[in-house]
Amino acid sequence: MIMENIYKPELMEIIQIQQHTSDVKSMRVKFADPERAKNFSFKVGQFGIFSAFGHGESTFNICSSSDWKDFIEFCFRRTGRVTEAFWQLEEGDTIGFRGPYGNAYPMKEWEGKDLMFIGGGIAMPPIRCAIWYALEHREKYGDITIIYGARTVGDLVFRDELAEWAKRPKTRVIQTVDPGGETPDWKGEIGFVPTVVEKAGLTPKNAAALVIGPPIMIKFTLPILAKMGLTDKDIYTSLENRMKCGVGKCGRCNAGPVYICKEGPVFTLEQVKTLPNDY
């Protein structure tokens, strides 16, 4: 009998590549094994460990909706050895996948609530999966506000989808770029994410917010959400510590006693506040 091997990935074929910015791409991949493609399921918020053979593995959120069958998507910035290897791959090439790992966004718990999705830069992909899921179950959620900022117009990812989301009922999309990052034809906001959140004049009732982005963005956004009446239990984030195994063994991703790969990556602000500052 073949030994069970938790480290061995499954093979997936790249069926579509989208380049978003000068250094960000997303890939749509499907399982090489048709049976596995049929049986595979995950929950939005979970992550996978993706392999570029000969180069290694990296951890990415599965940024497609869990309702989409036959394929999954992930998004990466060209920044190290593995992402450089992914950058060079083409449609039809094969990559490896392990997962899905970790916990998920509480989409069930969020039913009936107004939802705020606040993201900065490359943090849009892990929010995107939840946005699509919420939009595909539109009747279950209240008002949806999406606030997304990047350094420059050229750094915004999934721009075509931002326009698509804005057309949906009871859904507001606010895009912003840092001052100086705008282009002459830019119609969005200019300013940092926390400022834009404050200016948006939101009066959420019974709301939940998913906030993912650089620590500095999160830090200054939190007090504004508190002013709107959100408690630490209503604010969620996804922590992204460095991982290797993804299954609670390699000893790398912990923040205090919490292994982010197994007990996270999704935490409420209330939970984050109990963690030592190790993320």
Partner: protein
């Protein structure tokens, strides 16, 4: 009545095991002042006394420092993966220290919670560990502080106790241990005695009190400023189990491998963005001590340390668990756990 075996018979038995093709390892003298656990070719390689303990641990025989997880081959756009099963014939470790054997019941937890690491499990099942109770200890030994001792039986399949007359009492503790010594021992009314072991140098209560005093206690920096970040502590520790997963090979083919890693290395937690949750050595030392004495006990109910003292013995600047916890003990007792 106890079971006994003479030293000559024990060494003859070791040669029999090797003759039967069993991979056998034990303490061997590598240099005049260095004893390491290593594979042995004959019983004459085995060192039974004349040193405190080997400079490494026996974990590498069950959790190797470099292990192939699977092979890959690239053919055009297609990838083929090849299973890599560890070559796990029966394996024996002779004259291990009790503080080495005690590591495995502790490590079983992390390698088996939820996801099971069969590379570890298969080697563990294929390995029989015969320990030799300690007669001596040095200033770096502190097994008694973590609930073990010179003849702690945890993790041993059989234990030998030196009777001081050229023979050993044999305590068979598991079925594997019984099978190994079946028919090989005589009986005697002599039983082995062991010294009480090193004096306790800290209590779990003191550590808990210090930890409760705050995560960002400035004492961490003070205590660990001299750490060089070399990782010798983790590599020679029986219980440190952090690892890396990397590819070895080229674009045509190769293998994915699991290598030992250490939380003392500056890149250990570095994010791709450049952000690093642990930017200085004080934070990395805090992680090592926290992991062993707080995180692991919270998660799995056991301290991730057997008190072997190797981390200090191998440390170029005399850090490691013993000096750090002695300082914590002093600070705790003095009420100096300021946050």
């Amino acid at each position: 009545m106890s079971e006994i075996i003479s030293k000559e018979d024990l060494l003859r038995l070791v040669d029999q095991w090797i003759g039967q093709g069993k991979r056998t390892a034990g303490p061997t003298r590598i240099k005049s002042d260095v004893v390491l656990y290593a594979p042995i070719r004959s019983s004459s390689d085995v060192q039974l006394d004349g040193f405190i303990r080997p400079r490494n641990s026996i974990k590498e025989f069950i959790f190797p420092r470099h292990e192939k997880l699977y092979g890959y081959k690239v053919e055009g756009r297609k990838i083929q993966l090849f299973d890599a099963e560890p070559a796990v014939g029966e394996q024996l470790i002779i004259a291990a220290r009790p503080c080495d054997a005690a590591a495995f019941p502790i490590l079983d937890h992390v390698f088996n919670w939820d996801y099971k690491d069969e590379f570890y499990n298969r080697r563990r099942q294929a390995t029989t560990i015969v320990t030799l109770a300690c007669k001596e200890y040095d200033r770096n030994c502190f097994c008694t502080s973590v609930g073990l001792g010179p003849a702690a039986e945890s993790g041993s399949d059989a234990m030998l106790l030196d009777l001081g007359d050229g023979s050993y009492e044999v305590r068979c503790l598991t079925e594997k241990g019984k099978a190994l010594f079946a028919g090989k021992t005589g009986t005697s009314d002599k039983t082995g005695t062991v010294p009480p072991g090193p004096k306790k140098i800290f209590t779990k209560e003191s550590i808990d009190a210090f930890f409760a005093g705050g995560y960002d206690n400035p004492e961490w920096q003070q205590m660990t400023l001299r750490c060089l970040g070399c990782g010798a502590c983790a590599y020679t520790c029986p219980t440190c189990h952090c690892f890396d997963i990397v590819d070895e090979g080229n674009a045509a083919g190769g293998a994915r491998v699991k290598n030992w890693d250490a939380c003392q290395f500056c890149m250990f937690t570095a994010h791709a963005s450049g952000h690093n949750p642990r930017t200085n050595q004080g934070q990395r030392q805090r992680q090592r001590i926290y992991h062993k004495f707080e995180i692991y006990p919270t998660k799995f109910g056991e301290i991730l340390c057997t008190g072997c003292g190797n981390c200090t013995r191998n440390c170029p600047v005399e850090l490691g668990v013993r000096p750090v916890l002695e300082t914590i003990e002093t600070l705790s007792v003095a009420g100096g756990t300021k946050a």
